[in-house]
Amino acid sequence: MALFKYLLSLEEKNRYSFYLAVFRIFVCFHLIKTILFQWAYLDILYGANSFVSPVPTFITELLGIPTHFLREHYQWFITAYLLIIVLYLFGIGKHFTALLLFLCYETLQRMCNLVLNGGDNLMKFIMLYMVFADSYQYFSIKAGQFRNQTLRRLSNLGSNLCVRAITLHFCMIYFWSAWHKIHAEVWFNGVATYYTFSIGRFKGTPWNDFLARNGVFVTISTYFTLIVEVYFPVLVWFKKTRLVVVLCGIALHLGIYVFMMIYGFEIIFIMTYGFFFKDEEWQAFLNKLISRINRKAKWKLPTFAEFHPEPQVYAGR
């Protein structure tokens, strides 16, 4: 009975409208940044004359578009992709644009999967789930709510289930990652970070060698990584431990960012932590931060509740 009441409550309100919008903006800027960084090498990565041997894109083939055609006209594809990102950034086209963006992103990944990492893999799933979410209540040209009760309840349910899907998938990633790690001798015996810090490809700083040779650092960092990955999927669901375990996760990913030169992956994982906090928690945190800034800098920044106007209610489609 309590479960049924809880499930019904998911239809009452979109509990993550703020962070869904924030993440939508982040996705757009992340994708644009990736294309900009790859700009000089787009021909190598996606062109027909690249030294990278092509693989079928699968999705476009299902739609009757051969892969070689896509590669020969990759500039048009990239242009369309950027246009869709901009539309998504402003919330134009809403769920349809989100779906198009997911399909383009999936196609781009298949056109060159060699440059992908776990962050890109997670991003793909988040974008798939966000097709069902109303992430347009903030930071979009036209936020709105359905007047039709069924559509409104469906929209709220879709949004809340989208976030639940993201958080569940995220916890599953940590769980299986920890499962695989524990199975490996170097993690079990507390020496894994010696290897991760020493591999040339991932040696991000001149201090890596020094740190890798320090037995205490290696042991602590190895077990810290394991403990975070093992306990995150459990402790993140409890209010008392959520913030602590999220902060530990941020520390872990920032460490990997600095010491292992893995950039996009870590930012995506850190940004995903925001989905574990509801709108009210974000509102309280932002209001606290804004009040502190107003007090220290003697500014008059509006607080979160004042800033956001009520969304327009429009007729259900």
């Binding site: 499930l7 239809e11 960084f37 790859q38 000089a40 090498y41 190598i44 990565l45 690249s50 030294f51 990278v52 041997s53 693989v55 699968f58 999967n113 060699l114 440059v115 990492n117 776990g118 893999n121 799933f125 069924t150 309840r153 469906l154 349910l157 289930l161 899907a165 569940l168 998938h169 599953m172 990633i173 299986w176 990652s177 499962w179 695989h180 790690k181 199975h183 490996a184 001798e185 170097v186 993690w187 020496v191 894994a192 010696y194 290897y195 991760t196 020493s198 591999i199 040339g200 490809r201 040696k203 991000g204 700083t205 890798a212 040779r213 290696v218 030169m261 950039y263």
Partner: protein, 210 residues
Amino acid sequence: MNILRPIIYLAFISYFAATFLFTMPDNYVSLQFYHQQQVFQQWLFQRWGFFAPPPNYDERLYYEFRDKLTRQTKTFEVMEPIVTLKQQKAPFNWHEDIVDYLLSGSMTGIGDDLHDMRQDLIYRNKQAGKSATDTSGEHMLRETIQHGISFQTLRNYAAIVAQKNRLDTARHEVRLILSHVMLPKFADRFSTKPRREEAYFISDYVTLNR
């Protein structure tokens, strides 16, 4: 809503049950659904075993160019300079990062394929009552790898390396040597011995033209 609600929740639960099942390590239960897992991974590929275990080596990729007429060879190693530049330019190293991922990803693909095919060969030889792999088996492995996508990518990159070093691509053929420079074990981390290098794949000489 009363009709949609159970459909939505059933779809949600089924999707996550499938995701959980098809991302777990191979076990008796998951292997019963091997074909379904292949279909699932084809549509929604995901692999979450990060650095488990981490590599215990640095990769080296040697291109050995041989003049078709004079038989003189020139060898160039490409991974170490890329990695060095990547470290020096961090975090503004996206060019080196892209090339590193392209080459390293291809080398890893070859290594994984070799490992899987060798395991299969050993199993088949055992079934046939043979105690060791023979040269025909190794030749078949090499041929299979050389027709694969990963090898084609590395071979195509050879033309770029040749051009950078002012070698005539029409006059030269190339052989790829993939090796691992092993990291010393943790217990030997202060050792000053030179690191051991092991070649795990040496190709035939192939032309530089695609």
